[in-house]
Symmetry: C2
Subunit: 522 residues, 2 copies
């Protein structure tokens, strides 16, 4: 990014064309300054949001809400105002005047502007109000396992999400559902998801049955506790450092719901500690560290521009799962981890590598998505994705949601849902208006497997390095092939460039077979 | 404050006059919403500033600077734009339509607008650039005790401060120096300061000589250490609570330079701990708690409006010094403190009340202002104020500053300044462009004494309460007579209302005589 005061950048292409492209370039550079200002508001919002979850005294909640709303409205006004549209038109008139990153940046500016302006203000407000009311109703309905109490609120949310999908679809030339998907993962389309999810779904029940049979009779020693919070924190920091988190540009703190937030040069991850079980915080820190690496390694020259942002939720989730699931549950990493656990919590046979392997790889169909293991997690997402599509398209009535949910769980995981609290009421996404979000979890897991496979193929010593806690080759490969590409390409293009093939369910399935069935051919 | 969406407020006066005053009221309420937005930007800036000093990783400094600059520019634009001026004119056209708080609020809005718009943008920039360069030069010049190296930079700062004073003076109808004073303490004028400082100055050398003679031969046991940080923190929190700090709307944290910051419902104070000496952190926490009480007790209905702000630096400093110096170095409070020190740090004869009294009341002329005791501190300020006036008026050349400073120190404190590092180079204020700021320190100390005297007169049990750690009567009196008045009146009016008399040096002198010479007649 160029300093705000600079009118002309130093890219050779700009100087070459200064005579003929000057007006377009001026418009482009004015846009860069405007989007840098938006990025600084985003950074301020990131710090205020972090503070709200980690530090803020309780009595400040209402005022913090007003501060966040004020900055968000100012941000929205900057992005949407007529001046931005006029500048975009002017800059777009001579795209040849721009270098490739500038052209991609201009495309991302237009994308952000289209998404922000597509929805009329009264619909934004109606959707926000419906989601807020529905979230409140959902907390009570979940506690009471009372789906009928949620139904009228959820109908309002679905109606406003359909209207948003239609409005954004018109602006972007997409189907309404694709327009929602595009909010979370630019370029993601139902036509991309359906075949890979179908392929995943085909093999899932059989694979699950095989793994459960394979693990029958497998026992493991329980982890000895308690695990003092300080020792857990020190271990987490030691592992963050090994993975490559830059402490000079980020922090680890505590919050009720772990997240990765903050600002460009200030990436803040959180965890929560349980003295009875270190595993949640440990794997949580590694997961958030994966997110943080993506943020810390974004292209340095473009940090405050749209093209310098992470590409979307699928790739972001792929980076957290690549670190947590692919790298840090590998045999190699568990060999590195075992002595660190003994050092942190005392010598105990439960910390033997074989026992850690059994502990971290237990597969068991369960009711709750967020507690699911690597093999059963995709089933939870498939059930939700299929229902969400049907609800959105009007092929399924909301009143039939519980039945459809329970049927799906039985078909894919072979378990009966005893009540809606542990069934279709367990997640906040639909009440909160996050329609089109669920698929990114499993697309992220698949992408992680595919990227890790390619990294291992490219770097034969990679897994050996992990056994010594050396993540540098892996993270260097990720930085080059994912992080430093920002939003310069689509997710699909980035994945094809990095792995030589489009998103492919069989690579993920092979990973599961290899890890859970010892199937080397996988 | 009214919610941003509300056009008409519920004050009876508004409804009464709705027919005739409607347009004025609409303009007024539009202004309220605009200033509420400014207040939320101020709150965001307060949290970002707090985070910068307490929490931020070092690598984020440059980006944080950009975030703060961006919010500051947006704030400045909101305050200065032509729409604000037009609305002010419209609302001012029928001042009778407003209730008294609304009228005062409109006056404060105009004041903020005048201060912000008086200085042309290029002068704001030149002053900021001069101060930034001079601060850098000052750090080196102080380290090297090299005044000539600072001189050219300081000349630039003085020139821009003169130009700002002239521009603001034109806009406000004030002399240039009064315009600078008015930035830090609205309504403060040189004509107010000069007689009280003259009166203070007259008695000071003699009083100091008397106190030094009185304390000759006085010995005290040194405080036993070390004092673990955790115990110091718990003691500080215990005292904050006793004084009346509301933890649900504020925090105590650690920073290199202690301050009171944050936002309306989120007042954040900081301290720094020294394991060898608990006194600095302890009295620092009490000092910042005094500032925080002012912030926490501002008028609840007007928190986000100009009239709801604290009145200025003199009153703010008076509140911190009233708690730290007047209340918490009183005999009564030391009786409350002694057992708490034993409880925190173990039983020791040094924690006897008489020894604490000797420890906290040692008077000794010294070179450094921030280390000065209550009796000698005013001398440091008087020296600076007299020099500042002369420099600003052109009666003293900057190159003669070191000599004038050393002469002043000899005249008022009877000590020789061995080098400029410990002389005129010790403070950041002049290099940083804070001209007109120094007098508020001593005006604050005098105001604190005057307010405390009146509170004691009004509440005969007040000092008895302090000996039990009961601050409620004192803080209730302060809330009613100072905090909850916000900026509805001038500092002078507030002080006269609360104490029945204008600012009066003899009350402060009587306090010093009573405390340091045991002179009951005062």
């Amino acid at each position: 990014m160029h300093p705000p005061g600079l009118i002309f950048c130093s890219h050779p292409v700009c100087y070459d064309r200064l005579g003929i492209g000057k007006r377009f370039m001026q418009a482009y550079h004015t846009l860069e300054r405007r989007f840098a200002r938006i990025s600084r508001l985003d950074g301020a919002l990131g710090i205020l949001g972090w503070d709200k979850e980690t530090t803020m005294p309780p009595g400040a909640a209402a005022e913090r809400g007003e501060q966040i709303a004020t900055l968000s409205v100012i941000r929205h006004e900057l992005l949407c105002d007529a001046g931005t549209d006029a500048l975009l038109h002017e800059a777009e008139a001579d795209p040849g005047a721009l270098g490739p990153w500038q052209a991609a940046n201009l495309r991302e500016m237009r994308r952000a502007h289209l998404h922000a302006t597509a929805v009329p203000a009264d619909l934004v407000e109606a959707a926000s109000r419906a989601a807020t009311a529905c979230e409140v109703a959902w907390r009570q309905a979940r506690a009471d396992s009372d789906f009928p109490a949620l139904l009228p609120h959820l109908e309002q949310v679905l109606a406003t999400q359909r209207a948003i999908g239609a409005a954004k679809g018109d602006a972007l030339g997409l189907s309404p559902y694709d327009a929602l998907l595009d909010q979370y993962d630019p370029g993601l389309r139902q036509s991309v998801i359906d075949p890979v999810f179908a392929s995943l779904r085909d093999g899932l029940p059989a694979l699950l049955a095989e793994v459960v049979a394979h693990q029958a009779g497998l026992t493991s020693l329980p982890m000895p506790g308690p695990f003092p919070v300080d020792a857990q924190r020190r271990l987490g920091e030691r592992l963050m450092q090994a993975v490559g988190f830059d402490r000079s540009r980020g922090r680890l703190d505590v919050s009720t719901h772990p997240f990765c937030g903050g600002a460009n040069a200030d990436v803040r991850i959180t965890t929560r500690y349980d003295e009875a079980d270190f595993s949640g915080a440990l794997m949580g820190v590694l997961h958030e560290t994966g997110h943080a690496l993506y943020e810390q390694n974004r292209p340095a020259d473009w940090l405050s521009q749209p093209v310098g942002q992470a590409r979307g939720m699928t790739l972001h989730e792929s980076q957290s799962l690549l670190i947590e699931m692919q790298a840090c549950r590998s045999d190699a990493f568990l060999r590195f981890l075992a002595p660190l656990l003994r050092c942190a919590f005392g010598d105990h046979p439960a910390f033997a590598v074989a026992n850690l392997r059994a502990h971290y790889r237990r597969v068991r169909p369960g009711l709750i998505r967020v507690d699911a293991d690597e093999v059963t997690y995709p089933a939870h997402v498939l059930v939700r994705y299929e229902i969400e599509r049907s609800l959105f398209a009007g092929n399924l009535s909301l009143r039939d949601l519980p039945g459809a949910f329970n049927d799906g769980m039985r078909a894919l995981l072979g378990i009966d849902v005893p009540d809606d609290r542990r069934g279709c009421l367990q997640d906040i996404h639909w009440p909160a208006g996050l329609w089109g979000y669920f698929p990114t979890y499993t697309l992220g897991a698949m992408t992680a497997a595919q990227l890790f496979r390619s990294a291992c193929d490219a770097l034969p010593d990679l897994e050996d390095g992990l056994s010594r806690g050396d993540f540098a080759p892996l993270v260097g490969w990720l930085a080059e092939n994912v992080h430093r590409r920002g939003s310069a390409t689509s997710t699909a293009e980035l994945l094809a460039d990095a792995t030589g093939t489009p998103l492919n369910a069989s690579i993920y399935q092979a990973h599961l077979r290899r890890r859970y069935l010892g199937d080397a051919a996988g």
